[in-house]
Amino acid sequence: MSERQEEQKRHLQLMKRGADGNEEYSGTFQEEDDSVEMRDVQDELQVRHTPCNVTHKRKVKWHYQSQIHITVWKNKKALENKVGETMQDRTLRNWFKVTIPWGRKYDKEWLMNSIQNHCSVPFTPVDFHYVRNRARFFIQDSSIASELKDVSYKICDEENQKICIFVNKCAAPFSVQNKLEPEEMYQLEMTMNKRYDVTQQALDLQTLRFDPDLVGHEIDIILNRRNCMSAALKIIEKNFPNLLSLNLCNNKLYQLDGLCDIIPKAPMIKILNLSNNELSSTWEVSKIKGLKLEELWLEGNPLCDTFSDQLTYVSVIRSYFPKLRCLDGQNFTSPTALDISSPDLVKPCQKTCKEPEELRNLIRQFLRQYYSLYDNGDRQGLLAAYHEESCFSLSVSSNPEDIALNSLCDIYKESRNMKMIKDDYLRLQLLKHTKHDVVRSLCVLPKTQHDLNSFVVDLLIQTDTMLCFSVHGVFKEVEGSSQGSLRAFVRTFITTPGCCSNLCIMNDELFVRVATAREAQCSLSLQTPTSVFNFKPTLSQEQQEMVQSFSTQSGMNFHWSQKCLQDNEWNYIKACEVFIMLKTEGRIPMEAFQ
């Protein structure tokens, strides 16, 4: 075949492939720099007719969803000798694409493991990515392809829906098809080696496309493209498998499907910088939650603007990376008490569950998300957490000696203490039924700030359909007549596994009492001023004066004086007593006096 025919054939292939003609897999597509594209066009005009020109002239004959993809790709393959072509052809042949519609709903690891379990031979998925709601990957073996076809409708998801899998013949995936030439790989490797800092085990790939070495050799490394990302990851796997820190700042990344493949290649990565890219939703970030990150940078991505408040943003990101200590340069306090080896959390799990760590993480994540909505958002958001026919009831401590309980009873009027309430009708009324009633009554309760550091969880029962646990902890009331008061609570959740490895609440019982002075001080000493869960109320004039005089008298700084007063309900004398008690016990840290 002549060069021209060769090139025409390739062009036709591109057109037939339709959506896959694009070297990017995802639906929305952002344009590369105009300047570079122009460069390509000029170079390639003799070699082939670029699709973009065709598209412009013919009013978008083929387009992918609603976007016009304009791709320009240097294709030197037409110039290669015959031997090289044959070998290349072999790797380009016999590819199958496996599509799971609605694959987006499922946890990637679960999905791939389920499919793998139904397959007699282990296979390696190539170029796993998402297209809108679909999950898709490629494999090269026709026997595996037919096995995978049979797996369709064999796997049941959590809602008992059968998962359907489509398998079709296709052209080679982009990372294979547009594999970098050996010279390009070599140059890329050299460049990456230069950018590697051995002392920190850190690799700096920011603005990689415009690296002078690569530009000088006319190698276009656009990390958005699967083949480029795949090549870079290959080099990382070979040269820097113990990589600790990776900087991908400024690479116009708008999807992380490709980066996902780094997880088995460089599993020790703790620091990742993705700032100033084009990531538009946290779903992209969730794709790499297999990394055990301690430090993450996401600022400068469109996804940051989708959050109305900092706390929600932080808690969503932290839910993906439990070990995270620093986000966008902001440090959190030490991990929540649930992460620190809480012996009480360990013991129940050892006896009752098969996978204690997973279960603990599941519960931790649930509690983090639940209380994030409970404390910071409009509690309406909790509707998603409750089952249609869930129940909720509230009970308030009834220790006759505790005078402070009077305020408690005024606020928590719907206390359902069957020792005091004997009327069947009233008992029924106070038990909230259906999620709308439940959330309605939760919205009426005062706004709170829970101290997640204080949480201790007892796991009561774990079966396939039920996960029941009790949470003990403290919270502060942040509004109303008892603003600043510290409460202790015991909350029993009975949940069932819902969709997407979430828990769905069936029963919720909340018991509230006034926190003891001891509990108040424990809570005080665990929280540092920069804690994410810290609560800073606005003080009245009188309260400010109290803080000042307390500070002078006690020798503590304003912050700690304020906390002490707050936790003792602004009862100056009580606060003094508590302070003296703790001081003699030596339980006040040094920093309180600085």
Binding site: D344, K347, C391, L460, S470, H472, M506
Partner: protein, 211 residues
């Protein structure tokens, strides 16, 4: 029917060597206010009843239809049943704990779990040892709440959640405030429903400082 048969067998086994059965006719503990015994006919069974069992009358629908899990039972009925069972249970449990500690394990399922201030105890043997070791107690329950558990979670095994709070004094220790919650499951027969503890979670309110 099989269930009823074994139930009777259990009775005969339990009745052997039971000394205090005769004078434990006070099935109505003081101050509870719950009226377990409805029609007079129930009293006839009183003499055969083992004290350490929490029994409630069957749900009205199931008695007539013969099926134990009639879907027609509405929410209110579940709540009523739960309240009745919870009150009965709490009275029997704490009385047994205080006065007849050796019989306490009868209230637990074979595979029940107790989490006592974070310590896990599973199985009747371990539970028996544990309760043996625990000093004698004096419980005072000030708060009681309960909820019927949705059957989707329990796979149609009738279950109720019972939450209590109050004070307890163990011999040789100071008084503590405590919180406790139970999951009780029902073993239904045509004539009544027997409730047993599937899980029991107990904590002092000041557990942190009492270690």
């Amino acid at each position: 029917m099989e269930g009823t048969g074994s139930y009777h067998r259990d009775w005969s086994e339990e009745n052997r060597g039971r000394q205090y059965q005769q004078h434990d006719q006070h099935r109505q503990p003081e101050g509870s206010g719950s009226h377990y015994y409805g029609p007079q006919g129930d009293h006839s069974r009183q003499g055969n009843r083992i004290p350490e069992e929490v029994v409630t009358p069957p749900l009205a629908a199931s008695a007539s239809s013969g099926s134990l899990m009639a879907a027609a039972v509405d929410f209110k009925t579940h709540v009523d049943q739960a309240c009745r069972a919870a009150e009965e249970f709490v009275n029997i449990y704490y009385e047994t704990m205080d006065k007849r500690r050796q019989a306490l394990t009868r209230l637990y399922l074979d595979k029940a779990t107790l989490i006592w201030n974070g310590n896990v105890v599973t199985g009747l043997d371990a539970l028996a040892n544990f309760f043996d070791m625990l000093p004698s107690s004096e419980f005072q329950v000030n708060m009681l709440d309960c909820q019927p558990v949705h059957e989707q979670a329990t796979q149609a095994q009738t279950t109720i959640l019972v939450v209590t709070s109050g004070t307890v004094k163990f011999d040789g220790n100071k008084q503590h405030y405590f919180n406790q919650n139970f999951l009780l499951t029902a073993q239904c027969t045509p004539s009544n429903t027997v409730w047993k503890i599937a899980s029991d979670c107990f904590r002092f309110q000041d557990w942190a400082s009492s270690n």
